[in-house]
Subunit: 400 residues, 4 copies
């Protein structure tokens, strides 16, 4: 144990990969909850950057409460339209004045949200298909002074908890990459695939079921045959993709709620179910590592939109994930690793109350063989905790 | 008197030009009330056009209730910024479904509003400086069926009243053209002049005071000296312009509320006072002829945003103004003319209950000399009443 | 002419009572526009009172922009219900802090609005049938300092105009009292009569048509027969009432848009058309004397909700109406009187630029006989202008 | 294993009570997130009840997206006030018409929310201190038909997961009961204690720290001394209470963020931090068992506001918690029990894909001794799954 109270120990659980049943979920970038996460985080980054640019230091903000109210749409083969707009309300707290300098927090928030939506949901015409509104109040008085002196490591503002895991299990890899690759590589050549892609993986022993719900974009789907082709295309692509990550048997199911006889298919105009009936909000979807993993301990904390300077829940979730990944890359012999950071309110955030690493080692490797290496990485990353803030503000760390 | 119940008669009033005191006002295109009028009318036109395009006939709508909530701005020499956005709520009624055809009334409204603002208030970045929201409900049941058979002249939906005048008095000409030319010809060469220009004319006997309030745009005003130059420029321009319309003595006052010592000047970032503290709504500003004229009878009716097919208040205000102008152009010998149209609920709108023309003739001309000519114009225009609808929908008639 | 620049002169118009056609309208207390007027004025009064109570002097406010978005209702014989609430947005400007004292402007506004609605529209359950929301911003900086020293007469903040008339014509009396008495005396015994009563009077020479639209309350209307009885009852009551004010022939029409065959009748659950399809806003209905009178000059100014301390448009509209009524009561021999007050920006409001009285005298009376008496009243009322402020804040003056 | 695919097995984890570090949190009834949970669930219950009453069967709804935007308050010793209201937006989906029957979903929602707030947060004056607004859209078409035939067990609408635990650990008991008893028994005699009570428990081996943040109500706190007494009172009460649940050493910390020198204390006017700066939303706080327990697997599902008829995430979270508690009561010899239910999309919800029970038995008891008893309870409760729906609609099951 170092000064930083780091503990490296064998786990008392069964490795997730060895558990009988494993469930993994990922809500894609265009899912209503993810839209909220993405907007909230974009707004947070823009505010943080503005504070640094204008007053040379971070000021209090938290914009982790965006709410999306679904619209109404009339999708149609070949191209439909939205009837009633999605309503997106950016909610949170921001400092609007500091020693005489006014900070245009609300217009910055609107601008950041618009830019984000334009980038990630290009079929949503901001101002027509989606109304973006904003209510940013001032924070409570006693929170505005929590930010420490320049350069100093901030103090933890709460007793909070972050948890990270590495490496991903096969099912996790499949679920994560199914969404990521469908939404990038595949969508590039297949414009009918919208960004609202929800992936559910369920492994029972050595069989994996991957269920994918893809919001198909009507403009690129001339008829039912084309729709079926689109569904088949996704199924084949994901089936191939899965073999990169596992030797287990994999079944892929795409848009299983479709009822061709009823004509009830997953056709959208904008590529997101937010256009019709699916509301969303921040912190209800993916955890900081991009997944929902009921087989693993998770933090309830909404990471997106929180301030990245001293919000300990956000920082420790990002940091524990980062530590887990780094240990996974740098230290050999690990089958499964869990990093948990527990803050101590009022103490510098580089000195957690506890930082513990639970390990499942590969056969032939004992925890004691590698404990020092693991501890070194943890110690190094904790010492460099403020770089998490910097990378979060720069958008280098994903929060959902 | 014709079948249409047209009466042409000498007035029982003193011509406005002969009254001792005359007051005239115009709220420019960028005034918060005018923004609401303009948006409401744009939305109405877009809806009307959509109904014609999609179902081949007009359906019920009224979008005459837009509300603007002012924002907060921090103007500064050389360029400031908005801190909190303007909030614009489009309110009204629209038919959203007709015999199975869905009409995207709300997204059309948003689109029309955005296009209008982009065109007329180019410095307002829609979605950042101004949030445009929409609440369009369905109308009450019994109103949805008022529209008559194709081609038929609609029935009046109310007992209502329209009034028009011609020609404009000298003071009216000056007030109207001051705003119009500042906002077009002058602004082209003088980008510091914003669209929120309020003009008040007050004539006492043979002296006219013209008071102009111009929202100066900070990006083009580097310092106080430049501001004063801008004010001087407007004053000179308007002084020259006034001589085109009158031989009376004219004093021009620009931005009289400025207090240079306090630094309290009319500087804005976006060219409208809606950016800071001035709310607005429909029907509170200019009448259908573009002016507020307490010396003349006026209709309280909000013309902007009303449906142009059977809303009798809108149609009769536009039509009476049009008739007055046409008579003024076509019939010689008229010093002052007032056209008043009174509807009869349930009768075709080309058959008003009363259409009366009050005339002040030029010296040497008697009303009886020209009554037939006047009546002919009125009769012709009433017979062609549906062209008012068409021109209103096409945006050829101004409503404020 | 006194120091106050008061002019008393014979009119150059025909008395309204002598004109061939006269139109008069009153929107009752429960009409959507009147609801907005009433809420706006209640909020204004509550704010003014709070400023006086807490800091001992008035502070800047203007709450003249309330917007009502209609709801959806399902009225039914014997009692229906509202399906979707009315949305009422209180908009305006208010000072929220003065020398360290915080003023809870928004919660005061909500409270005042609720109290007003509970009082005047008791069937609207605030919080269920109607959502009341509020957006009160701070005013623009240069307006916050306009209020003068304690006790001093404030300076006019604008070039503005107020106009008042007396006595009411017969048609005006009938229209005004029809609504007032239906909504009080008659409603007490006939609970089926809702507060949304719109009255239109049209006089042609010696015949008067009174058209009344009454929102009947479904709970007290068990069936169609009862509805017809209710309509008949109103017709008889108004017919009788009219004879108190005129010897002319009068026809009364009630709920003329009803179509019994279609079952399209004016039945409501809450007693206002705001429950279904009729939006409203401030300043779109009655002028300060409670009427819309196209035969008389009117001010476009929205009187309701404006601050009563230095908003010259509000004060001069209230004052000119008050002067006209007082002259009418105190000076004999007047058939028709119009008082017009024109402000001079920057001068004390008790010294208008012009105060003129246009008179039509009774036969045998000349203007010169009574000019001094009229001038005395005007002078006295102007000297006492600040009592208008006081009475407005105390709710003793109606603004719509 | 039965037909229902129930598995009872020894756990592969360390009992939480035996882990070195344990963290537990509960957000009290007045916490902004809990307000949202409570309102969302109240609205859901009211809608469900209405559907049953009016059409005899459940219709589609999901109201799990309430958003709270904090207000602004000026608390003061002896009694302060709110300056700007809290804004609460009820978001979700509801069926508004079924075979010609209109359902007043929005007014029902507003009514239910108001009733809930009046009951649980009596110091919040609904309509003045908090504006409750509502946006309930229709669901997407294909969801409206998911509800099965009358009486039939519904089909699972998703692949989802519920998890329940029993019995509570000592730390869990302390955290849960601290909030519950402070908010009931203690608050009855100590009206200064507001409903926004957040409790964090942290156990390290045999020492427990309980950190309580209580929103004190200013009306009952005349001065700083009284505040300190109030804090001391809570500390003593909780210290005593803790001894009922544990023999471990316990330290209690109350309102640790207070800074008496700065005068920064946790004083509120309404008893909730929502009055100033703390926003909230559904599903971000307590899990279905009322706790946040990072040491245990948790579901990310927002249970509050979901429909209780076929939303499998809600039902399985409530059911697994209920099963765990029932097993805990009925079967002896269990130290720790985890019930996990995994749905199979498209299969009746009483036949989960997997229902597994992980057990840690007491010394001397083996899993095989009691497996049958455990399985019996699980089987019985699954067979009776629809009673969960009923109890949820009746408000007998807590969701947060």
């Amino acid at each position: 144990m170092t000064e930083r109270n780091i503990r490296v120990q064998p786990t008392n659980r069964l490795a997730v990969e060895d558990q009988e049943v494993e469930i993994v979920e990922r809500k894609g970038i265009g899912h209503p909850d993810s839209i909220c996460d993405g907007v909230a985080e974009s707004v947070a980054r823009a505010l943080a950057q503005t504070y640094l640019d204008r007053v040379g230091k971070p000021l209090h903000y938290n914009t982790d409460e965006t709410q999306l109210v679904a619209g109404t749409a009339a999708p149609a083969f070949g191209g439909g339209e939205m009837l009633e707009p999605i309503y997106l309300l950016i909610v949170g707290r921001a400092t609007k004045e500091y020693e005489g300098t006014k900070i245009p927090a609300e217009t910055i928030a609107l601008d950041a949200a618009r830019e984000y939506i334009n980038e990630e949901l290009p079929r949503l015409d901001v101002g027509k298909d989606i109304v973006v509104d904003v209510k940013l109040g001032e924070g409570s008085g006693d929170l505005r002074d929590v930010f420490g002196e320049d350069g100093a490591v901030p103090m933890a503002n709460d007793t909070s908890f972050g948890v990270g895991h590495a490496p991903l299990t096969e099912t996790e890899e499949i679920v994560y990459n199914t969404e990521r690759k469908l939404n990038t590589e595949y969508a590039e050549d297949n414009p009918e695939v919208g960004p609202d892609i929800k992936v559910m993986g369920k492994r029972e022993n050595d069989h994996i079921d991957v269920t994918v719900a893809v919001a198909m974009i009507d403009e690129h789907i001339p008829d039912m045959l084309a729709y079926q082709d689109a569904v088949d295309g996704v199924r084949e692509y994901v089936s191939d993709l899965a073999t990169e990550y596992t030797d287990r048997s994999v079944d892929v199911h795409v848009n299983t709620a479709d009822d061709f006889e009823e004509g009830a298919i997953y056709l959208t105009t904008t590529g997101t179910s937010a256009e019709q009936g699916d509301d969303g909000s921040v912190g209800r979807g993916n955890r900081a590592n991009g997944l929902i993993t009921p087989n693993r301990p998770m933090s309830m904390e909404a990471t997106s939109g929180k301030n990245a300077i001293n919000h300990i829940g956000k920082i420790y979730n990002l940091l524990s994930t980062d530590i887990a990944e780094t240990v996974g890359e740098e230290v050999d012999g690990i089958r499964e690793l869990q990093i948990r950071l527990l803050s101590q309110i009022g103490r510098p955030i580089d000195q957690p109350h506890v930082a513990d690493a639970d390990l499942v080692t590969e056969e032939g490797v004992s925890v004691s063989d590698i404990a020092d290496d693991v501890e070194d990485v943890i110690d190094r990353e904790l010492a460099d905790v403020t770089s998490i803030t910097e990378r979060a503000i720069n958008g280098e760390l994903s929060t959902f």
